[in-house]
Amino acid sequence: MRTPILAALLSLVGLPAMACETFTIGNLMIEHAWSRATIGAERPGVLYVEITNTGSADDALVGIATPVAEMPMLHETVVTDGVASMPHAMSVPVPAGQTVALAPGGYHGMLMGLTTTLKEGEGFPVTLTFRDAGEVTVPVEVLSMQAEGPDCEHAGQ
């Protein structure tokens, strides 16, 4: 029952180089939303995105939601004395005038309980909830497992 709906959702946002589009909500600019392909659906997926706050007031990313994961959450990779751990992040600060990146090795969305395998070249929507700016839904591009980020300059954007 759920699979056809999901497939429809995936195909709707399955446009190439969508990670290079920019979305705005209030004073926030959302760019480079991408994920890595997964092997099957039992391993968690990941979400990376860049948020620029062009306003004069601080905001914060307080939640993520997506139809491809039952339990999406915000995490931060922390390396202490050479040991990596992944504590929950209650929120990711988006200070006024700054760009915050959920990027490999730092803050990231952890997509637990995937409802589908994330395949390279496909996409899925994610709804970002900000403390003040509210909600915005953006398409996420699934790149290869080896990707370190979308190659937007070469995509001509």
């Binding site: 890595r36 392909a37 092997i39 391993r43 968690p44 997926g45 990941v46 339990m71 959450m73 995490h75 990779t77 390396v79 050479g82 040991v83 990596a84 751990s85 992944m86 490999p104 090795g105 990231h108 952890m110 997509l111 637990m112 290869s144 497992m145 080896q146 990707a147 370190e148």
Partner: protein, 200 residues
């Protein structure tokens, strides 16, 4: 005439090289005789564990002697750090080109419960084919970590678990001596020369 002179020069060269090697050996063994720093990884020759690679073959550290070795820890359920490290390493190997064919490049799973050889094989197919994955009984993974002075810890998480683990990449010379550590997500401008030093 010319041949004899070449032979004499050649013999002299061999004798000189031999003397140098013996001298260096004596100097080295004297240098490493005192207990090594307990915070640093053991030389590979002093490590002792038996694990299985992604093709099902048995691997012991003694198999690595003779080639430079790169070892790191990870697990396939890890969404951020491990693909990033594997992706970094794939990039370094690409930069090094065929020179890197001589390296032993080894991921040791800190989640042997879920990472069977078959799982590792599927996972590693996404990265540079020169990367080998090892798994095995937990006790053997613990022995491997102890030899490298690395640590890992299973942490319950939302009805599931994750594994905190040492994130750096360990480098060893061909004779098994510890060379250096590449820190997590270290820039390739620093990482690649570190690897190159173990290849020369």
């Amino acid at each position: 005439m010319r041949t004899r002179r070449a032979v004499i020069l050649g013999l002299g060269g061999v004798a000189g090289a031999l003397a140098f090697t013996l001298g260096l050996g004596a100097w080295r063994s004297r240098g490493t005789a005192p207990a090594t720093d307990p915070r640093l990884p053991l030389p590979i020759a002093e490590m002792d564990f038996t694990l299985t690679d992604q093709c099902g073959a048995t691997v012991r550290p003694s198999d690595w002697i003779g080639r430079p070795t790169m070892i790191f820890f990870g697990f396939t359920f890890c969404p951020d750090v491990c693909p990033t490290t594997l992706s970094d390493i794939s990039g370094w190997l690409e930069d090094l080109g065929p020179e890197a064919d001589r390296l032993n490049v080894t991921l040791i799973s800190v989640d042997p419960e879920r990472d069977t050889p078959a799982v590792l094989s599927d996972y590693l197919a996404n990265f540079d084919p020169r990367i080998t994955g090892l798994t095995g009984p937990l006790a053997e993974v613990e022995r491997a970590a102890a030899g490298l002075r690395a640590s890992f810890e299973k942490v319950p998480r939302d009805g599931d678990y994750t594994v905190n683990h040492t994130a750096g990449v360990f480098l060893f010379h061909p004779d098994g001596r510890f060379a250096s550590i590449i820190d997590y997500h270290e820039d390739r401008r620093f990482a690649v020369p570190k690897i190159r030093r173990t290849l020369s």
